[in-house]
């Protein structure tokens, strides 16, 4: 009896291998899990893109559930994502802050003028240091930060309608209680 089933062993090994390789196909090595999730958002003090004299700090945002969307006028994928963000901002589900990453003020403002401005405020991170603190490595990236200033969600790459409907919107509702 035992002998007769021995021929199944290579088949089982093959199935195990296929399972792991199949899972590997579905994983994107560019999506590095962020160690920031569940931790306080890094502190920052940045000027507004359109008002160089107006400084915004992380602690100004405490008490609000808010979205931080990292973008740049040179970023191609941001343009792809942009119409969706503009549409999402009309729902007024939460304040959307932009982080204008390694960009020039004039270029950033022109970009918003051309394609619409979904942001309540855009923060101007000219040298990309705040981006580094947020672990940004592939623009666009999107963070959801809760009332205590803790990062609860991170999307690497453009947000999609599915991500908004299935992850962001339910999370924001839950955080706003």
């Amino acid at each position: 009896m035992k002998k007769r089933l021995n021929f199944l062993i290579p088949l089982i090994l093959l199935l195990v291998l296929v399972f792991f390789l199949g899972r590997g196909l579905g994983l994107d090595p560019h999506e590095v899990p962020s160690p920031l999730i569940g931790k306080p958002a890094p502190g920052f003090a940045l000027t507004q893109l359109d008002k160089p004299e107006q400084v915004i700090r992380r602690d100004d945002m405490l008490g609000k559930v808010w979205m931080l969307n990292v973008w740049a006028s040179w970023c191609v994928a941001c343009r792809e994502e942009h119409p969706l963000l503009v549409e999402f901002s009309r729902q007024k589900l939460l304040p959307i802050y932009g982080l204008n990453y390694k960009d020039e003020r004039a270029a950033g403002l022109q970009w918003l003028g051309n394609f619409g401005n979904p942001y309540d405020v855009s923060l101007f991170d000219h040298d990309g240091r705040v981006g580094i603190d947020f672990g940004v490595y592939g623009v666009p990236e999107t963070f959801i930060i809760d009332k205590q200033g803790v990062v609860r969600f991170k999307q690497i790459g453009p947000v999609t309608p599915e991500v908004i409907a299935d992850k962001i919107a339910p999370l924001v509702r839950q955080l706003n209680g």
Binding site: P29, H30, V32, P33, S34, P35, L36, K102, D127, G128, R129, I132, D133, F134, G135, Y137, G138
Partner: protein
Amino acid sequence: MANMRSMGKALVLSVLLAIGVGAARAGEAAPAAADPALEARMLEITAELRCLVCQNQTIADSHADLAVDLRRQVREMLQQGQTDQQVVDYMTARYGDFVLYRPPFKATTALLWIGPGVMAVCGLLLLVLILRRRSRLPDARFEPDAEDADATEQPQAPTH
């Protein structure tokens, strides 16, 4: 004679070329920071860190914008007198263990570190088991080796 002269020319040319290449390389390798020791330390640390943008390159190697920024960041941290460990902690706080080419041993990385060893031991055990079982089998169960085979015997055609 003509041969000698052309050889001499070739020699002069190659020397000139070598000097030229040397000069060009020296220009390329000029350290960006004023302090070469610090620059060397910076490169030593960043050579152990993975560039997030081009994932098969180190931060020391990569020309990606982010890698340039991170090298600048590390340079500044070293100038402030921070230790190598502080720099590594700074990176892992932002990008996780993924940035380390040699991740630390802990629960989430245990499989990564032990996995190959476990696989090798399993393979060796399997090999030993199979060899021992075969050594107990009677000779009749094996086909004769080529050199043992009777010379008069016809080469056997496969029967099945």
